[in-house]
Structure formats: C-alpha cells, structure tokens
C-alpha cells in the first residue's frame, strides 16, 4: 500500500493521546487506592488532558487531508453498523469529548462524591469520566486497528496482532509521553509512569516482533493464477492496459526500493523499542530532557513503524499491475 502521511499522523497522534489519557487515569486510579501519591490534579490531569486533546485534534486534522471531500466528513458516521471507519468516526469525537470533560473536571477541581464504592472509595465525576474514557480509548484503538485488520485479503493486517499492536504502541508512546509530562508536572509519578511505559514498550516489542515474524512468513492466498483464473505455473503480465499510471498504481504501491523498506524497518525497531527503553530506564528521576527525548524518538519511530505498516501490506489488486508495455 502507499503510506499516506495523513493516516500515519492520524493513527500515531491519536494513539499517543489515547495512551496518555490511559496513563493519566491509571495514575488517578492508583492514587485513589493510595498506591501512588496524589499529584497536582490541576496541572497533571488538567493540563495532561489538554495535551491529549491537542494530540487528538492534530490527529483529526491530519485525517482530513486524507479525504477527497473533507466538507462531507460528517456523512461518515452513517454506516456504524457495518463500517469500522464509521465507528472510528463516532468513537473519536466521543473520546475527545470525554477527555475534555475529564480534564475540565480536574481543572475546575470538581470532585463531588457521587457514590461510594464498597471499601469506602469515593466516586467523583472524574472517576466516571475516566472509566468512560478508558472504555472509549480502548474502543478507539480497536476501531482504528480494525479498519485495517478487518480487510481479510490484506493478510499483513488481517490479524489480532494488528489490534494488539495499535493498543500497545499507542499505549507505549502515551505512557512515555506521560512520564515526560510528569517530570514537569508531577515528578513523583515519573518512575511509576516510566516503569509502565517501559513495560508496555517491551510488550509492544514482543507483539510487533510477532507480527513481523508472522508477516515475513505469510503465503499469499491470491496469485496470478487465481487473479485471472488460469492454471499454469508460469504466467507473466505484459500490459496492464495503460502506461502512465492510474489510481491502482498510485494508491497501492509504496514505490520504494526494498532497501528503503528494510532501512525503515530497522529504524523503527530501534527507535520505538530499545532507545526509548534505555532513555526511560536511565532517566527515572526527573530527567525531563531524557524523557522528552524518549518520547520524541519513540514517536519518530512510530511514524516509521506506521509507514512500514502500510508499505508492507501487499494488496492482492497489485497482481494486476505488474508490468507495462
């Protein structure tokens, strides 16, 4: 597939935002159970939500560049019954709304006790919004990932690993960002968040490696034989019916040499996993610069990872577009 930068930015930015929100609410939950010190809610949760929201807006903005008719984008909510894209379009603003409210609740220090859980734990609006946001964040990860994973003939994508990767990589980048953010706003949480960031990054390494391993061994289900329905071991295309390119040659081919593909792969493997891990582990206490670097490197790596994700996907339609003459 041709990697579209709009989609690369959309998925990585909102992934980081989702992860960041999950990190915020994880910290809040731990703090609620007194497992963590209570940070400055105003700064950490409020501004953290704002940061997440900004990432979400940027991602949403990027997505518009993908559309031929962005002014009709509102129509895309219509088919939620069948289309993961439609579902994403519904879940994303819902999530944004919740993040906004969650942040607002903290910003305004609006913490009326709505109910008390068994064990005496008070439940305030931010907790309810946090749970809702968590559900939506996971929902959004699933929707986004399922847009790709549901396409059964794109074998590189059609796997539960796609969903797991989106969750773990989004989560990793979000937690790394949260750690970096905490180093400024809530230093007491840095090691907690940095620790989780490292764990999720490690898990991401496992799942992404698993998908790389899987994809390297995929046997394409379609072949030139099934594509044109002729049973013969040797078939070669001579012409594709046009010579100056078409949508079919522009949209479904990355157009890069194998060497570029390989370099991008190794770059993301290094930039998403070991480098941020090292930076995270070496910057446990308050090393804002190290943590910021961890996030920046990891995010850059994720851009490459997402580019590779698209480029590696080999669409069966490409069987029909191999040669011109």
């Amino acid at each position: 597939m041709h990697p579209a930068f709009s989609v690369i930015f959309l998925t990585t930015l909102i992934g980081a935002a989702q992860g960041l929100f999950l990190a915020l609410f994880t910290a809040q939950s731990y703090a609620a159970f007194k497992l963590l010190p209570q940070p400055d809610a105003h700064a950490f949760y409020g501004q953290g939500s704002l940061l997440a929201l900004m990432l979400l807006v940027a991602g949403l903005g990027a997505s518009f560049f993908h559309l031929g008719h962005p002014e009709r984008a509102w129509r895309s909510a219509a088919m939620w019954r069948t289309s993961w894209l439609s579902r994403e379009v519904l879940v994303l603003p819902a999530f944004m709304g919740v993040v906004f409210l969650y942040g607002l609740a903290h910003w305004l220090d609006w913490h009326p006790v709505l109910m008390t859980l068994p064990g005496g734990l008070p439940v305030d609006p931010s907790a309810i919004l946090g749970v809702a946001g968590t559900v939506l964040a996971f929902g959004l990860f699933i929707c986004t990932a399922m847009i790709y994973a549901c396409l059964k003939f794109l074998a590189e994508w059609h796997s539960p690993l796609t969903v797991i990767n989106y969750i773990l990589l989004g989560g990793a980048s979000g937690f790394t960002l949260a750690a970096a953010f905490a180093s400024v706003t809530a230093p007491e949480l840095v090691s907690f968040l940095g620790g989780w960031a490292a764990i999720i990054t490690l898990l991401g390494l496992v799942s992404r490696s698993a998908s790389l391993y899987r994809n390297a061994r995929l046997k394409p289900k379609s072949s030139l034989q099934t594509a044109i329905g002729i049973k013969h071991p040797k078939i070669t295309q001579k012409t594709q019916g046009f010579m100056g390119g078409s949508f079919n040659t522009r949209e479904f081919f990355h157009g890069q040499p194998v060497a570029v593909l390989r370099s991008v792969k190794w770059f993301f493997i290094v930039a998403v996993f070991p480098v941020p891990l090292l930076l995270l582990l070496s910057a446990t206490q308050g090393g804002t610069a190290m943590l910021a670097a961890a996030f920046i490197v990891q995010y850059a790596g994720l851009l490459a990872e997402r580019w590779f994700f698209f480029a590696q996907a080999n669409h069966p339609q490409n069987l029909y577009y191999q040669s011109i003459a």
């Binding site: 070669t236 010579m243 040669s323």
Partner: protein, 962 residues
Amino acid sequence: MQAADTSSPSIQEVKNTTCYMCACRCGIRVHLRDGVVRYIDGNPDHPLNKGVICAKGSSGIMKQYSPARLLKPLKRKAGAERGAGDFEEIEWDEAFATLADRLGKIRATDPKKFALFTGRDQMQALTGMFARQFGTPNYAAHGGFCSVNMAAGMIYTIGGSFWEFGGPDLDRAKLFVMIGTAEDHHSNPLKIALSKFKRDGGRFISINPVRTGYSAIADEWVPIRPGTDGALLLAIIHEIIATGLYDRDFMVKYSNAGQLVNVNEANDEFGFFVRTEVPTEEACYEPQDKLWWDRNTNRAVVTHQAGADPYLLGEFKLSDGTPVKPAFQLLQERVKDYTPEWASQITGIPTQVIRQLAHEMGVTARDQKIELPIAWTDSWGNEHDSVTGNPVAFHAMRGLAAHSNGFQTIRALAILMSLLGTIDRPGGFRHKAPFPRPIPPCARTPNDPRAVQPNHPLDGMVLGWPSDPDDLFVNDDGSPVRLDKAFSWEYPLSVHGLMHNAITNAWRGDPYRIDTLLIFMANMSWNSTMNTAEVRQMLNDKDTEGPNAGEFKIPFLVVCDAFHSEMTAYADLILPDTTYLERHDVMSMLDRPISEFDGPVDSVRIPVVPVSGDCKPFQEVLIELGARLKLPAFVNKEGERKFRDYPDFIVNYETEPGSGIGFLSGWRGKGGEKFLRGEPNPNQWEMYAKNNCVFHYELPKSYQYMRNWNKGYLEWSQRNRITRYAEPILIHIYSEVLQRFRGAAQGKGLTRKPPEHLKKRIETYFDPLPFYYDSLEAQVTDKHKYPLAAVTQRPMAMYHSWDSQNAWLRQIHTHNYLYVNTLTARQQGIADGDWIWVESQWGKVRCMARHSEAVEPGTVWTWNAIGKAAGAWNLTPDANESQKGFLLNHLISEELPSAGSRRISNSDPITGQAAWYDVRVRISKAEAGEPEQTSPQFEAMKPYPGMKARSSILAFLGVKPK
C-alpha cells in the same frame, strides 16, 4: 451521482456517417448534444460492422477535439528552415493563388515536375484522377509501402486478393489459417467473423513470429522466422501434391494447371503456353486458345473441350515434335526439393508440424466438402446443380507482403489456396465486387514518355497492371518515366507505385528533379518513411552550386493534413484538412469500396459537425485547383468551373459523358431508381443519408460464387460495366505474365528488352512459378553480425490510424518497448525493462526491452508509430512518445547497394513493395550512465499559429464549454 438521468433538456441528435479512424470504414452513429459530439457507436444496420465499433472508433471524439488540429492555412516564414516549424497564418485565397500560379507554370512546361503522393486517403479515385488530369505520371498512394505485394501477388494469380478485394469466408470455413500480421484491413468484420468461427467450432491456426492480436486466440500458434513464409508455403504445396490432397477437378477446370507449356529450351516460345493460333486482337482477357493433353484420347486438345480431361502430370510431344508439359507438372517439379525437411531449416518450424499443417489443410478440404443447393452455369455452358466448397480459409496481409520476397511468397499462398480448391467457393476465399478482375486487370499506364505533354492530361492511367514488358512506362533507353521508378525495369509490376522512394529520388535527381511535391496525409518525415533521419535532411537540403545554389533540392513542398505532424514541419505551405466528421467522402466502386461477399457495397461520409476553423476538405482543394488550372474534367467547354463543390462533383461526374458511371453506384438515375449505372441523381446524397450512408446490392445467389468462371455473374458484371469482357478468369498456377519478363531478360521474343544491368535481376525474380529466396537485405547482410530479424506491428487500438495524439488511445500505448524472446535477451545479459541499443547496418536506436515468451527467438519486434518526435502532434516535448517511444524506421534503409555504385530501392524486385520487414539487427545492453531516453532525438517541435492550446486536465463532458 450514478442514477439513470435521461431528462436532459439539451438537444440530442443522432447522425449517421462512416468512420475514418482507420481503413475499415464502419458505419457509425454520431450522437450530438447541443452540437457537440457526445458519443459515437456502431451502426447496427450497417453491413460492415453490424453495430460494433473498435477502440479507435470510440475515440473519435478525441480526434475531433484534439489540440493537434491545424486550423489555418500556413506559410513557412521567409528565411525559416524547413523542419523548424516557423509558420505564419495565411488565407485560403493566398494559398490557392500560390498553388495555381506555381502548378500552372509546371503544367505548361513539364507536368512531371509536379508530384502528388497521398497516404491512406481512401479517395484515390479522385486524387489519381487529379494527377492524370494535371498530366503528371508522378502519383501514388501508400499501397507501395503498405501491402502491394498482397494485391499484386494474388491478383496476378487468382484475379482477386485479400485487402478490400476479398477475404476468408469464415461463416462456412472449418479450418482457418492466418499467416503473418493481418489485423489491419477489414478489422471489425474480421473480428466479428473470427469469434463466430471459433464459437461454431472452427479450428484456427496462426503462423506468425509473434503471438499477439488475433493470433492470441488461435487454437495453435506456429512461430516462424520472418520472411520465410514462402519456404513454408512451398513445402506445404510439396506435401499436398506428394500426398495427392489437392482438388484435381478444381485445378483442371478452373486453373491453367492442365495447360501445356513449351519446354523446348532452344525455342523462342520456351516457357510459354502452346496456343492453337495467334490471337488476332490484343484484348484484356485471355483467349481460350491453349492446349490440354487429353487422357481419354491421348492427344492435345483445346482446353475445356467437352468430354476432355487433361493430364496434369507427365511430359508429351506435340505432333510437330515440341516437348510440352502441363503447368501442374512444372509446379510439381518446382516443389520437388522444397521438402518439409528443407523448409524446417529455413523457417524454424519442426518438420512434423509442416506436414501436419499440410495434412490438416488437405484432409479438411477434401473430407468436409460443403454443398449448397445453388444452381449456376459455368463459362463453358455447363450447368451445375450446386455450389460446392472446401472449407479451408486463409488470411494474410502485411506480414507476408512487406518482404522483398513477398510477391513470390504470396503467389505460393494463392497457389496453395487454389490447390485446395478454395477460390470463390463457400468456406474458402471469396471475392468482393468489383473483383475478380482479368489477370492482370485492364488498367494500363502509358508505355511511352510522350504520354506526358504540357497542358494535357496524361495519356493513360497513373497506375496500372502491366501484362508484358511493352506495358512498362519507360523511356526509349529503358529508363523510368516516373519519379518513383514505378513500372520501370527496376520494379516492373509496381502497381501501387513506390511512394517510399519519391523523396530520395527527387532529392538526388534520379531520374530527375521535380519542382513541387504535394503530400496528402502521409508522415513522410517520420513513421511513413524508411531511413527517417536522412530523409528529414533531404527535405531540408539545398543545392550548394549551380544555377539554383541556395535553393531547396525539392523546391516547393505542400502538405495537406488535419494534424500537426513531423511532416508538416517541412512544408512550405500547409493546407489544413478537416476531420472525417466534418466532410463528405465516398467509398467508391472506382476506388476501394466496402463490398461484401454477396455483392457490391459502397458508402459515403456526411458531415455531422461544422468545419472547424479554416479547415477545408482536401477534395474541395482539388476541385478548386482543378477549376483554377482548367483541368478538363473540372471545367466545362467554356473553361468555367463545372462543379460547385465536392458533393456536386460526386453526383454529377461521369467517367465519360453519358456513361452513367460515377463515383457512387447507388440511387442513380434521375429519381434514384437505378444502380451501378444511370444518369446523375441530384438527390443521391439524401438517399444515401436515408439509408445508413450505404448502398448494398445483393447478387442473386447463383452469382455469388465461382465468379471467375460464373457465366451468369460475368455477364451481369459486363452488363453493368463492372468489366468489359465476360471471359472466364483462369487461375494462373503458371504465370505467363512473369515468363514474358523473364523471356525478355533472356533476349527472347519481340518485346522490349531490359537494360543490361537489370537483365539478371529480371531473369532471376520473374519466375513463372513461385520460388523461395532470401530477402534482398539478407543477401547483403552478415547474418552472424546481425542475427535477429526486426519487425513491427501496430496495436489494434491504433491500427491504420492517425491517433498517437488521441488523449484516450495514447494512455493505452504511450511509448513502446522492443519485445525480445526471454532466452535471447538473457544471452545478451538484457533484463526485462533494460535500456538497450538496437543496431542494423543502416542505423541504431536506443530503447527499452521487454522480455516475451510470445516471440520467436530469432525475432524482435515493437509497436510501430508510437514513437514521435518531441513536441510533434502538439504533445509536450517531454511526452513519453518522444522520450521513451522509438521508431524502428531509423534502422531500415529505403535503398540497398546494388552492382557498382547503383542504389536500388529496398523493395520487392517485382512489385517495388517496401521491404520493411527484412531488416536484420543485433541488440546490446546500453552502458550504465547513458541517458534513460530513446535515441535518436530531434529538436523539439512547437505548436503552429492558429492551433488550440493543449490542456493539462481534460474532463470531457460532451457539451460546449461554458
């Protein structure tokens, strides 16, 4: 929004006319919306295409609205070089005045100095007539570099040919054999017939170096080395005769196979048929005065004598002691050594495949006879209850023709078809009116230079069919009268002329210089010329010394075309032609009509949109010029203009006053009640318009077959002045016409004799029986150095079309590759898609290679005429056509070295057919670091004044732009 929306308020019209995107001439319906062409589809009521249309026909819109169109008459700017494309707009008045002045002077002094050569114009009856009226012999159309070998080889053998003149009867055939590239002429009808044939269970064999086009759907592909078809056909004839699979009855009755040939070498009559008496008058038919050796009485009898049955084989002695052999015996002796084993070495086809081909043809012809309950009477008065046929059909065109051994190859094909008994019979080859013609047809050029006189029409036809050396158009010393040397001893049977040598000859002044060259619709500085780069220099070359120093060697060059092209750049004067949708045309019985097997058909074009810009149909130009020059056919006795315009000319012109024969054969007579012959009908165009633009006369069933010997048909044809004589047209298994030339070269007989330096050539190639020889180019080529044959075809989406500039078609073929067999390429280290050099001994081009399994290993090929000069046809200078596309023409020479310092055309020595497909090449990988661009390149052309700008985005809606 994709929903049926038919409630458009715009004005919708549908007009019928005839397509001209290629030579096929299908009936089309042009759908107009508010006067703009919105859709063109096939006319379902048209006999030719029955509603279908091809890729070109559907893209006619993009031709009509192409930015490559010339919209104003243009004059080369004073001082500008030819080829530079510096023009200024002029008005038609000035153009006509210039032409009339210049041509008037030429006509009053030496009409030869005006030469008119036309491309694929479909109006040769008018253009030829104009040349004749002018008085110049220097006229030809593009047949000489297209497929004249096909026309000549078959017409000199069976009196008809593939092309517009006849074709395979696939409706009844059981086996169809297509040899060589043949997708060009009659393409939609052939496609229709081919699919029906296959669906009906017919077997289709394609013999071709390349498997593309129709060959793709063949049941069997027999790859063959280019130019060796003659060897294959002779070996098949060998096998057919050796196994007795020929139709003896057909040979006996309908060919000269049984006629006795004098085999006394000492005799002046050696090689000629023995005749009962010397014919008293020379007429354009063959008198039945030859002899058979009768099996029943064992003595010589006049042919076709009732009750007689000739021996086809054996040797006999006439009462005067003359040894004689039936022609068939000579054929058998000729092919004796042409064994399948021999042919296999030459063609690359396995011996058993050659035998299998012969057996399939022979057994199918013999065992699957067709009998139709149609009674008919033969020329000898024998009544037959039925028409029978042998269902083996062939088709061939340019693949066989475009070789310097093509004439004899095609003779072999026609003889094979005759041996199988398939001529004008169901399931075989069928004629189309006005064919069959006598062998040869009656038209003759003058045979005397004095036929060219100032201010007089040419005394004879501009093109004709020589029957013996005395018909040649030569000077007293045997040198050619014509610029292109047609009908001379160099190419005696060049029945379509040699357009491909006109420019070289005029430039060199051999045989002489001319003054004005008028080219209509032919790209002679690009894909329609051999040796392209040098011909472009010739067009721009000036005398360096003498009285004309500083003047162009070809002093005045006029080009009429509808489009900006490589050729127009060299013009001194450009006349903008219309498109086919803007004008009247006739597909006339005097020219190349669109007849069907069942009878004569002619058709017309009627304008469906107004003329664009200042364009003018070329016919109108000729009629205007004819009137201004006072050519007799175009003015009345008072010297005043006779015809208002072209439509008026078509209606009122008669071949002779009161002949009742004109350009159109339908709705003649005052009220349109007559056909073929009749007085002019003022409403003839309207009647064509009302009838799908086509006139179709269906012959009675009994006249539809065996027309060479069908008394009823021949007399009908004579009554309607399609022919002068109703004599039977026997198939020339043995060609006495060729023998007459050979005899002259051997110093025998009373006819003219060839000049010394051509005697050997004439004696060698004018063999009365087909034989195989290596192409002339191969004879002067080191085949180890140039091991590969290089050929071209045009893709179906562009065949015979002018449309490399067509916005839709050029997306399909925007540049071309050289196709090389995968193994051949790998041996040279050439990968798929690599840049390579292709070299012949005449030139070299750089291009891209494409591996292919569908090409014979000794052949490379490409699509022709995709490559363009940069900027030509108003394409951008960086368009693929010029940067990645290439012409093979750069590798092909228009001349070959001959004895001494003489040059001779790279053409068939009999017909002058351009030998495009003879070129031999070698290939090598381009060096790393060479530019990824085809070579040679030429300076980019620019658009001319008056042309529309090209757009970078096209969203055609079929409505007038707001």
